[in-house]
């Protein structure tokens, strides 16, 4: 079988994934898996939500309906990926990353997030570290993903460093990381934009709208 319409193929898989995940979480994993889980000594697998009846719907009822329908429609979209009559070159998804890159990214966030939760009782460090590592990886090995990864990373860097670094430095960092994601990078211009924006955000958000942000790094206080 040849994939004729990449867009439908991947969109179908995505919808099926979301739909099946919703149903599985709502109904709970199948009985044999729960039994197998227990026999491995891993404890009790959390067993779904209550289904209820049509008269008194439990928390699982509506999501199961929706998830099932979504998975079904996703399957149709997925099948359509093989039977498209449109010219295949217009049906390319043109995603800037491959499926392997995607798995690496998700694994990085899940792994570091979990590790930092165990070690520091907070996932924040893991999320920040994963964003930075992913940004560096994208910069070095996948220049095509720069717009995607660096635009997302700049927000993460800002959010997780706002409390320790203060608004001014966090804004400057944000602008520099974001600028690296664009086509043209002119250090001087970016520096001016960064300074202007940090002054502007301090004036508008801290003094004007009185948002409770610290302006300078916490160490200064």
């Amino acid at each position: 079988m040849q994939i004729k319409n990449e867009k439908d193929f991947w969109a179908g898989l995505m919808f099926m994934g979301f739909g099946l995940a919703a149903v599985t979480i709502a109904v709970g994993p199948p009985a044999f898996l729960v039994a197998a889980w227990k026999s491995m000594g891993w404890g009790n697998l959390q067993y779904g939500y209550q289904m209820g009846t049509a008269v008194r719907m439990g928390p699982a009822y509506f999501p199961t309906m929706l998830g099932g329908l979504l998975a079904f429609l996703g399957f149709i979209v997925f099948l359509r990926g093989f039977f498209s009559e449109l010219p295949p070159e217009t049906m390319k998804a043109n995603l800037s990353f491959g499926i392997l890159d995607f798995v690496v990214g998700v694994a990085l966030f899940a792994g570091l997030g979990y590790a930092s939760k165990v070690m520091f009782k907070s996932g924040d460090y893991g999320m920040l570290a994963a964003s930075v590592i992913l940004a560096v990886l994208s910069f070095l090995f996948r220049p095509k993903t720069k717009p995607l990864i660096l635009i997302l990373a700049c927000g993460m860097v800002f959010a997780y460093l706002l409390k320790p670094l203060g608004l001014v430095l966090a804004t400057i960092l944000l602008v520099f990381v974001a600028a690296l994601g664009g086509h043209e990078y002119k250090t001087k211009e970016v520096a001016i934009v960064a300074v202007v924006l940090s002054i502007f955000s301090v004036v508008v958000f801290v003094y004007g709208l009185t948002l409770p942000f610290q302006i300078w790094p916490a160490a200064f206080y």
């Binding site: 719907m57 509506f62 999320m127 700049c154 927000g155 993460m156 602008v175 994601g181």
Partner: protein, 503 residues
């Protein structure tokens, strides 16, 4: 004349100095983001929502509404001068507006757009004032089954009017409904789909979803393409259209206004759909069909009137039924909820000042927009020369601060990034995000009404077909779905949205 006293009340509210200021802020911001390509009203309103916390409800809603219809004015400026849709609803204005500019008639084109928009704004304000009250009265009699069916109709209409594949649009709605269920279930108190994350107990903030799906994804997609913008600002020239121009544009504006007002009320309608429909109509009825695409003034007047009319009448379902017709209205619902107002038919009776004040402010806003857009056109043109590489970091700073300040927690930015990825993937896979946002807003409401309806009917699903109003809504939904799946119409629909894809 009840309506006159109501409108008087509305103008009284809207003309208070503070509300006038809010209206001005809204329309200026709206024009600004309308002029700038790559910044849409959805992302802007989402960005400003956290700030509206500190405002009073009337001022906040007046400002947010101003952004939406203001963006329709600004969008046409960019379309005419740069051949880029500043706003998605001005895609069709590019066709003839830019051609007029190339022939040295940029001034009349801009003036036509502004006159058409103002006329449409005036009429559609009246339409809202006339049609909203009776509709709200009917809606007060709605029970849970009627509400459920109405939401089904709204969502079906939204998918039908979305561009691209119908199945994918329905899937996006379902995905949105599911995401809307994340958090604590009101009936049982069970925490659903939260994965042990305490921040998700109250559900995912829809501001965060909207900013990720629209704001972030838009920037990423824009950055992947090379920046190519040729500003056509050499000379705008004489603004005033000639006598001949007036003669040709008047019927076009009338048709556009009527069409836009009607289409805006439909669930799923709004500015975008109205402008497309108006262009098609103008092309069909024109005595000079050969001129279309080469600078026909009707091709500017009709769609511009229609998109403004549609933008305003799309407030009708929001104000009377509490049901959003498009993504911007979904955000308005969010704004009302932030202010502690339950959207629905009771808004008109319980808060007449809000209701009529908002309607009156629309007309005042339109007046301000004409002044802002015609004599001050030079300022907006200057703005167009700001390169995107300076613009997008600025947008990002506002977005991040806005999202972070929702609860002073980096977690919200993390969720926004997640939806940024999802939005990017959806854009690449030709899945529209707008139906998803609608589903997301309606998810909890739909479940709630479904539960109540089923409880009242003792579990009999036929209740939805036994009540006449509910049955009508569901029948309409089914008819819409069947009609749109017919092969003949399907190709028509794809044709209508073909121009949209190139944006």
């Amino acid at each position: 004349m009840e309506i006159l006293s109501n409108l008087a009340l509305g103008f009284g509210v809207a003309l208070s100095p503070f509300n006038l200021l809010m209206c001005l802020v809204g329309v200026v911001l709206g024009t600004l983001i309308g002029v700038l390509p790559g910044v849409g009203p959805v992302a802007t309103i989402a960005m400003l929502l956290p700030i509206t916390f500190n405002l009073n409800p009337i001022g906040a809603l007046i400002m947010l509404a101003g952004i939406y219809y203001g963006a329709q004015y600004g969008g046409s400026t960019t379309a005419i001068l740069v051949n880029l849709p500043g706003e998605s609803s001005s895609v069709v204005t590019c066709l003839d507006g830019y051609q007029m500019a190339r022939r040295g008639r940029a001034g009349p084109a801009l003036a036509t757009a502004a006159i058409g928009s103002f006329f449409a704004g005036t009429i559609s304000t009246l339409v809202v004032a006339l049609f909203a009250p009776p509709l709200a009265e009917v809606a007060l009699k709605f029970g849970p089954s009627e509400y459920f069916s109405l939401m089904v109709l709204g969502l079906v209409a939204a998918t039908v009017l979305a561009s691209g594949s119908l199945i994918k649009a329905i899937s996006m709605v379902l995905l949105g409904l599911l995401l809307g269920l994340v958090g604590t279930d009101v009936n049982s108190g069970v925490l659903r789909f939260a994965f042990g994350v305490s921040e998700l107990a109250d559900g995912i903030g829809f501001v965060v979803v909207a900013m990720g799906m629209f704001g972030l994804a838009e920037i990423i997609v824009n950055l992947e393409q090379k920046e190519a913008r040729e500003v056509f600002t050499s000379k705008v020239g004489r603004l005033m259209p000639s006598k001949e121009d007036f003669k040709r544009m008047t019927p076009a504006i009338l048709r556009g206004t009527a069409l836009g007002s009607a289409l805006g009320i439909l669930p799923g309608g709004g500015a975008l759909l109205s402008s497309f429909a108006a262009y098609t109509v103008e092309k069909k009825v024109s005595r000079y069909p050969a001129e279309f695409g080469k600078g026909a003034i009707e091709g500017v007047a009709g769609p511009e009137a229609a998109n403004n009319a549609g933008a305003q009448t799309s407030f009708i379902p929001l104000l009377t039924l509490g049901i959003p017709g498009n993504a911007v209205m979904a955000l308005m619902i969010g704004a009302m909820m932030i202010q502690g107002i339950a959207p629905g038919p009771q808004v008109m009776t319980e808060r007449p000042q809000l209701f009529w004040g908002m309607i009156a402010s629309m007309w005042i806003g339109n007046l301000m927009l004409v002044v802002l857009n015609l004599p001050m056109i030079g300022i907006w043109i200057k703005l167009l020369t700001v390169p995107y590489r300076i613009l997008y970091p600025t947008i990002l700073v506002f977005m991040c601060i806005g999202v972070f300040s929702l609860s002073n927690n980096p977690f919200d930015v993390l969720i926004m990034a997640f939806f940024g990825v999802l939005g990017y993937i959806c854009a690449k896979l030709a899945c529209e995000p707008a139906p998803m946002i609608l589903g997301f807003i309606l998810g909890p409401l739909m479940e709630e009404n479904l539960r109540r309806a089923m409880l009242l009917s003792r579990g009999d699903p036929l209740v939805f077909f036994q009540k006449p109003i509910s049955a009508t809504f569901l029948t309409l939904s089914i008819v819409l779905l069947v009609v749109i799946s017919l092969p003949a119409l399907r190709s028509k629909r794809e044709e209508a949205f073909a121009g949209d894809e190139q944006k």
